[in-house]
Amino acid sequence: MSDSGTTTLDRLPPGQSARVTAVSDVGHRATRLMEMGLLPGVAVRLTRLAPLGDPIDIQVRGYHLSLRAAEAKLVTVRRDEF
């Protein structure tokens, strides 16, 4: 699902930078993601996956946050061009 580089956070390859375009509003989980700083317009970078593939580690607003792919799916991002 790639129109002009839009995808969800869980699908970014390790090392990829992107910008959040939307956080799907599904109840308290989305709220929590937003409170932790994942909001439209913010820059994120997928640092790595855990050894077993899940959870993922992202950099956002200057700190490292790890979350499961299931929740990362709620965040839509647009890849940064190089």
Partner: protein, 736 residues
């Protein structure tokens, strides 16, 4: 700080009741007359250095306890250098809209809703300067509570180390409150913070709805403010909540979970009011087509982004810090797991073997004490009670101390350094599959040594359900106390081959592990069913652990164990001793301890149990052993020694005990201890809950008798069924 109407006190409805409060105005003439702050709360994100700051402010004058009714730790201390000021370290939180029990406690205390803990007079928000935006998010919420507030801009040394700068005065001007730059790990800024606390005076809250608190630089939409005003008016009318926090509550009711019940983290309020508020929310479409939560959050962060840009200079490019470089290995696909296994092996060894000398020392000390007491008291029932009951009972408690201390120290080092988050990150997938949390790994691993400290270690698990599951299955991991039982049976009944013996021993451990995972999965699907809590974990930069403060808190927690769990263990020890001691000498005099045991209450219990345990292949003498194991599983061996007349200071190496076991016969001449019975008995020990110390600790950690009772019931049931299946199944297959 500005004051509201200096000439007149505010109207009665906005005045707060309580000691040490009053109207103030800044000025040297009135400063001495104004009451100072008595209780100040520390609030902040996890990993912001709040605990280190707390340690610096209070020195060793701290007390650790629990918030009543919940297993959330409560830290309080008195501030050094500020006479009469008490500091409360509230649980770390990311937002005042709570997602966990810890956050709910923090919010409740700050709002003044907590049943036993009144609102503080002032608050210090600890902010991580190297991570400002997210930390200030909480600060904006706290500022709206209208408490006298200070901001401790902590970890300023990290910022400087990155060659970035922070305009502290600018930040203070933007937020409208004093900001003190601190580096708690080195003590920098602490004195300035103390001075700022001394200068704080309590203010009467400005609480008319619609007035903007000093801090509010963020602006949401017009309709947001309207909604807050409308709900604020409803709250005013109903005189609900302290006027100080009324506007903050109104805002919460617009942008938070709304009128959800208090259990779920909603705002506690009477039903009538709840209905009215819900009406307002429905009319405005809140929680339906208007996502006010998102709007408020975005507005806050928008303002914070601009504010942070104004007060800091930061290099835009992301630089790989040394912390990132360590993580390249620590979270590596292969090396990450290797490093993790290595660290776990070291931890396990340290608890398992390094505690040994200390434990042996304690046991020797207890024996000396007992001998000394006996020398003074001579013979007789009182002497026996004191020596074999009380002193031995206390010994049973204190002997856990080394293991608890070592495990807690290790865990504290892992947490403080920041590695614990990586461990949870690496293990999450595996543990979640079994219905456990990533952080369950350490308690479960240490349960192979002893479940008592392991269960205490589950405090690091945030989710209540995950924590409870871990606690309930931890005793299934075969602890070191079961080892003597396994060894004595294996060496007596399974021949000399080391391969056979090792295989059987390993299988017992494997059975425990498999059962633990299975039970965890079942529990998560049935009794402890519920939505999976979100896994959101910050990976803080690696830091040097603050050993001094950690040691102090470890000591405090161990003390709590000694007093609370210890008293239960002591009581049960005495009871067990009494059951084996009475009734005395019917028909015989002190000669044969075996005979004494057989006709004691404990012996009678064994005989009463026999019909129930015969289908498992056990006779009444084994029954006595099972009952005595309630004190500690390894007691089985010495009890068998007594019952079979070999003496009570045998251990699993004893040849004479082995011979007696092999020679034991049922009345009809069959051997009691066949290999099948051996397996059946070992399976029973794998699965049964026989350790009163474990139950005492579970009681302490879950704050109720319900869970220890449940644990006892389900494990005993499992053990019975397991042994039954093994024994009867084996008989059916002709292995009798």
């Amino acid at each position: 700080m500005s004051s509201k109407n200096p000439a007149q006190p505010p109207p009665l409805s906005t005045r707060r009741e309580g000691p040490g409060l009053g109207v103030h105005e800044i000025g040297p003439s009135t400063a001495e007359h104004t009451p100072a702050v008595r209780r100040i709360a520390l609030v902040g994100n996890p990993n912001s250095g709040k605990t280190t700051l707390f340690n610096q402010l209070t020195g060793l004058r701290q007390k650790v306890g629990n918030y009543p009714g919940v297993t959330v730790e409560r830290h309080e201390g008195s501030m050094v250098g500020c006479a009469g000021v008490r500091v409360i370290d509230l649980p770390g939180c990311y937002s005042l809209d709570p997602r966990s029990l810890d956050e709910r406690v923090a919010r409740d205390v700050l709002m003044g809703w907590h049943v036993k803990e009144s609102a503080p007079d002032a608050v210090i928000v600890v902010v991580d300067a190297s991570n400002l935006e997210r930390n200030l998010f909480l600060a904006t919420q706290v500022l709206e509570l209208n408490l006298p507030t200070l901001i401790a801009c902590n970890m300023i040394d990290v910022v400087e180390g990155r060659a970035e700068s922070m305009d502290v005065a600018g930040l203070a001007a933007e937020l409208g409150v004093p900001v003190v730059a601190t580096a708690a790990s080195t003590g920098r800024g602490i004195e300035a913070l103390r001075t700022a606390v001394r200068r704080l005076r309590t203010e009467s809250g400005a609480a008319t709805p619609g007035s903007y608190p000093r801090s509010r630089g963020w602006a949401a939409s017009g309709r947001f403010d309207e909604a807050v005003r409308e709900i604020g008016a409803v709250l005013d009318e109903g005189e609900a909540f302290d006027p100080r926090v009324r506007e903050a509550v109104a805002r919460l009711l617009v942008s938070g979970p709304g009128t959800g019940d208090a259990e779920g983290g909603g705002v506690p309020m009477p039903a009538r009011l709840r209905a009215r508020i819900q009406q307002v929310r429905d009319v405005r479409g809140l929680g339906r087509d208007w996502n006010a939560v998102a709007e408020a959050t975005e507005a806050r962060y928008r303002w914070l982004g601009e504010l942070v840009a104004r007060v800091t200079s930061r290099s835009a490019a992301a630089r790989a810090s040394w912390s990132d470089r360590i993580d390249h290995w620590a979270c590596h696909r292969v090396w990450g797991l290797v490093i993790f296994s290595g660290l776990m092996a070291v931890m396990f060894l340290s608890v398992f073997s390094w505690a040994e000398p200390a434990m042996a020392g304690i046991e020797a000390l207890v024996r000396q004490l007992g001998a000394g007491a006996r020398a003074v008291l001579g013979q007789g029932a009182l002497a026996d009670l004191l020596v074999d009951g009380v002193i031995a009972g206390v010994g049973n408690v204190v002997v856990f101390f080394p293991q608890i201390c070592i495990l807690f120290l290790f865990i504290a080092l892992l947490e403080d350094s920041g590695y614990m988050a990586r461990a949870a990150f690496v293990m999450d997938r595996v543990m979640a599959g079994a219905g456990l949390a990533g952080k369950s790994f350490i308690p479960l691993l240490s349960s192979f040594a002893c479940a008592v400290p392991a269960i205490m270690a589950t405090r690091t698990i945030e989710s209540r359900r995950d924590r409870l599951t871990t606690i309930l299955v931890a005793p299934l991991m075969s602890c070191s106390a079961r080892l003597p039982v396994y060894l004595v049976l294996i060496s007596a009944l399974f021949g000399p081959s080391i391969w056979v013996r090792s295989l059987i021993l390993f299988s017992m451990y494997g059975l425990g592990l498999a059962t633990a995972l299975g039970v965890a999965m079942v529990l998560k699907r049935t009794l402890l069913k519920g939505p999976t809590p979100m896994f959101l974990l910050e990976l803080p930069p690696y830091r040097r652990p603050q050993v001094w403060g950690t040691l102090w808190q470890m000591w405090q927690r161990s003390k709590v164990f000694l007093v609370q769990a210890g008293s239960i263990i002591l009581a049960l020890s005495v009871v067990l001793w009494a059951l084996a001691y009475f009734p005395r000498g019917l028909g015989r005099h002190g000669g044969d301890p075996g005979a004494q045991l057989r006709q004691s209450y404990l012996g009678r219990i064994g005989q009463v149990l026999e019909p129930a345990i015969a289908p498992l292949g056990f006779d009444w003498k084994i029954g006595i052993g099972l009952a005595a194991s309630f004190a500690a599983r390894e007691v089985f061996v010495s009890t068998m020694g007594v019952v079979y007349g070999v003496g009570d200071d045998v251990d699993e190496e004893s040849l004479s005990l082995r011979e007696k076991l092999i020679a034991a016969r049922w009345p009809d001449g069959r051997k009691v201890f066949t290999p099948l019975v051996g397996i059946s008995l070992m399976v029973f020990y794998v699965l049964a809950c026989q350790c009163m110390s474990t139950l005492a600790v579970v009681r302490r950690e879950t704050n109720s008798w319900r869970w220890p009772a449940f644990m006892f019931a389900y494990m005993t049931g499992l053990a019975y069924v397991g042994s039954l299946v093994v024994y009867q199944g084996g008989r059916a297959l002709g292995w009798g």
